[in-house]
Symmetry: D2
């Protein structure tokens, strides 16, 4: 698995910087015969796109995706699918005030030391704009999994700063989530959080968020012991999203307080009686809904001045101009869904390779 490639059998390779000529991706390993056009991808890209409402950055990115290869007469051919988004807004910006300063909380400092090269433009490869290509690739995986296994990927915001909801409070009416400006399923929490975000924008600050993922339709038997467990791959996929600092499956950190008699999900002839495990046992899907949560950190690109150093090691202060997202977790929602789809897609193909079918019908079960 290469640095800029995700997956073993459904492989997504991305390239492009936020202020370069274009963003692109190559999807290698998509089964042939899937109906596919740009219309399957664009809506998910639009969901992630900035400038959709006042809580996301006003920066305009056209994000018009083109399929360059791998599709013939409306169907995938089995050959690699090339995707491209040309960056239309590349006018030379004035970076003179940040060119020599490391932005605190950014990849600036670590990239410079890793590569010995400094691309001081807005984030370069570490920009969240890179996730557009993950969403595009994930859209293809989502379409395939929905078509063949009726699998559904749905994420929502369940916490923004001090405002949170619980699964039982949130309705998880997914249409409501889609319509909510914060992708939140609890109208009360959303209203309170929107007020909070308006205040933050005035103060020139940002805040973190927690996002909950639910995947329905996962067949039993996906995941590979011992390292490529389904939950392990999901943890990597979600932690690889910009700004994510924590990942949990099922009851997550709460399991540290639970007893075995409480945690274990009883098996009955009608199925599991609870889902503390979050749909994974021994690293392999149990057939229950897959449940995960992630925490997004607050972006450091805020108009509140911050202490830092310049490239000569001298102390200085920095202010990030321009409007940025007060809460990057909101736009992270479709990225969470996309990465989960890439993980599941890969494991479906792996399972098919090893067993011929996706799930064994175990004797008498």
């Amino acid at each position: 698995m290469a640095a800029n490639t995700w997956g073993e059998l459904f492989r997504v390779t991305t390239f492009g910087e936020s202020h370069g000529a274009a963003l692109g991706a190559v999807i290698d390993g998509c089964p042939p015969g899937l109906e596919l056009s740009e219309a399957d991808i664009q809506p998910l890209l639009d969901k992630r796109k900035p400038g959709q409402n006042r809580y996301t950055t006003a920066r305009r990115e056209a994000d018009e995706v083109r399929i360059l290869s791998g599709v013939f007469e409306g169907k995938t051919t089995g050959t690699p699918i090339g995707l491209l988004i040309e960056n239309t807004d590349q006018r030379s910006k004035d970076y003179s005030d940040i060119k020599d300063k490391f932005r605190p909380g950014h990849a600036d400092y670590t990239y410079a030391h890793k590569y010995g090269v400094r691309d001081y433009r807005g984030g370069g490869r570490s920009s969240a704009r890179e996730t557009a290509m993950r969403v595009a690739a994930g859209a293809i995986a989502q379409k395939y999994l929905a078509a063949t296994l009726n699998m559904q990927f749905q994420a929502s915001v369940v916490q923004i700063g001090p405002h949170s909801t619980h699964p039982e409070l949130a309705t998880f009416d997914w249409q409501q989530v889609a319509d909510d400006p914060l992708f939140c399923g609890d109208a009360q929490m959303s209203a309170a959080a929107q007020d909070y975000l308006k205040q933050l924008l005035k103060e020139g600050d940002s805040v973190g968020a927690r996002v909950r993922l639910e995947v329905n339709g996962v067949p039993v038997g996906l995941g590979e012991p011992v390292f490529d467990r389904l939950d392990a791959d999901l943890a990597k996929a979600l932690m690889s999203i910009n700004a994510v600092k924590a990942v949990s499956i099922g009851d997550g950190f709460a399991v540290a307080e639970q007893r075995g008699s409480e945690h274990r999900d009883a098996l009955t002839p009608q199925g599991f009686s609870s889902n503390h495990a979050g749909g994974v046992l021994g690293g392999i899907s149990s057939g229950q809904p897959l449940i995960a949560e992630v925490a997004f950190k607050p972006t450091s690109s805020i108009t509140t001045p911050g202490d830092t150093i310049d490239v000569h090691g001298q102390p200085t202060t920095i202010v990030t101009r321009g409007r940025h997202d007060p809460c990057v977790g909101i736009r992270g929602v479709p990225v969470v869904e996309a990465m989960a789809a890439l993980v599941l897609m890969d494991h479906v193909l792996r399972q098919r390779a090893q067993n011929g079918t996706v799930t064994h019908s175990f004797p008498q079960i």
Copy 2:
């Protein structure tokens, strides 16, 4: 990255079932010239070994590791290192009471449906015994990283059920951690948790735990954008450990409540002024200590009877006989250290491949 292989350049492949003939591992990619003998590995294996005290299972596993290849005249040669632990205690056990029942909370059910084959012996490949080989491989990585970069991997138990400590309360005197029967750095918490565990043993129940990892000596610049981020690989490595349900880096889930002005770690000529990020920025190490936490679920192998089904789909109850760990997180401590070492080792080699050196001295820094 194959199912039973970890790593790209320092590759660890493990095999063996808990009740089979042997456990083994192949380490491919270890640089030549490292002094190595069984004496470098055995102490870490002994730390993980069951039966060390009353809080870990009394089952006896000799866990005597042999180096079969890759070392000549006391030094690694650059060729693959074969490791083997023969299972000495293989007497045929009576499985008749569990042979046809799925144990709730176990991989039993998912393995049976994944493979269409049922290995009803004590866990087979999904047993925690498999982690012995991770510890053995990790010991080699830890030795190399300590010798070349003075990197140190240290984990400790910071929560067991209702009993917890905070980094500031725990002394993190690592000798004290090593001597504590619960690998806990807070004597007060350890004492309370020991009483709690004794009570659990009487009740035939188990409990979860939280483990904190600290890696010192990590150079700036390790990790690969965008998918093979250092934190993403660490998340996968830790989530792949049996019973782990959550992984966090730095402030973890608490970032959902933080503001940007609070979270971002200021840069000063003397270094970072705080470490909310946990040593990773944009997926690349910042040179600060790497901080992570994981949650271990309570084992489901308890003497409290549980509801389940048999292989014919009929409802039944199950009791796991024999003594088991009341808290598997304790023995997970050396496994957490080992997996972190495998991640860092791989990224050190990757960095060296791309840049020739581990860290660029960036101009003027």
Copy 3:
């Protein structure tokens, strides 16, 4: 190593069909700091480009390559390099006479059965046009290896049908090879072969060729036992080129007739006294020039009618219209160089990962 990706550490992923919207490649793992622009790539693409002279197909392909990412201020940044060639000549062609027929000697039949999908346009992904992206990626590797190790990749045509030369007859004045319309270093053979090709064109037939590769400047110690040997990777790289049917290293098939006393190259304080091995011993480079040969089959796209079947399984005949190369091996010369460069580049990075340096100075040598 994925189907459309070459390499472990210098990874090249290509996409695009000959009659689709574009061809592209992503190069992941290029070390940062290499000066790079389109001007480093275009000349090698032009060498491969059809229509250069009367012995290569007259089809016009602009083959204008654009660098989309991974280069900032004229230097590589360490992030993935996106390359794109838009297909300018995409006018809808009339395929009605071949749409339902399998072309004998082509991938038509095998692709249709592999994917269950038929892209009847001129070769689709199996077209030699795909190799343009190999040449582009190879150009970057060649530049890096020349700049850092003074490595040189040079191939030439040594046989076309009945006309051949021997290394000792060919001057291997590489400028002469570059100027020769057949990339042949033996003026006498070239003249005879040109007459032969003119005759073939008249007859509507084609012919095979043999190409010899010589890589100078290869340091001792490259290659990985036991599977990823340098010669094994080179064999795969060269055999993966369209139309190649055989690969040999050093004395090649002639070794079946040699005795051990004749084959083994003696070591002297001044170096090896001969190079029967072709620069590889035990799968690892010896420091001598790397010598390989490949055989290109004659293209099946000829105007001589051929027997075949249609997609309904009925017998029919087929004629490939339009002008095609009478000898595809000629345009294969830069592809051979490119693939060899990709192999060497990858092994240089792998060696650096494992050993820190490219070559150990072994004691006293």
Copy 4:
């Protein structure tokens, strides 16, 4: 694909030196449910084993293989299969006369410079003894492919020095090949070659060989464009065998002399009318028998003294004592079959991953 690992989905990792404690392999990705015991592997190991007759080295290697994991109640479970051969004959040998000398034509010199470490014992990891584990792993692949697709792997010696046969002369009665001491299907050639080998043994010299592989039962559609072509992977697999210097598919180097009208295999309703392609078109199997040839160089371990240098760079001469194979190609026959089986096995699983089935029944064909 790691240095000591073969394959993507059926992954074979080997370890062990010829004079170390043991040889071993891990096979990861074998489908569950295959009946398997040591009795399926041992006969193929015995075929490769030295000391079988006067034309192979008299060295005794017990080569008793043990299955350590991955098999339960006589069937594979889907978990990794660990294989081990303990080296019984490890008595300390006297290496004093070669310890400081590089053997010409061996990996001695290249290993020393690659790793900076010298394992002067009989070949270490570069010894042909390493191929025992390839044969063991290949035996499992051969069993699976025979059971599920009726695929058959058969190789034979077609040239030894000046003595050769042609496919049409050799009967390819595979039982006769198996019974022949040289694995040759032409009794006349075998008799002449045996006389020749006896003479070589007297003279203390060795000779090369050519081996022909034929795989029957290959379904149409295996192989991945563009890099992981079936013929490219086969070329790598065969070139990775010790002493192999050339690989060809179908008509091989002879295609350089052929015309397109002669080379292309016509398609008829009854199948292909010839097999110049050797069963591969565009890198994908055509359904015809897969035909390949390899050339083995003569071993350099001969009793004829040879010029070389010592580790101090001083000129000296060397004589390899003990009896060695006069023609290593003979024992290479089962290794050729094994490597081909590993290639096909991997591609069968890859095809199944992508398409669900091994071969699409293309409309009307």
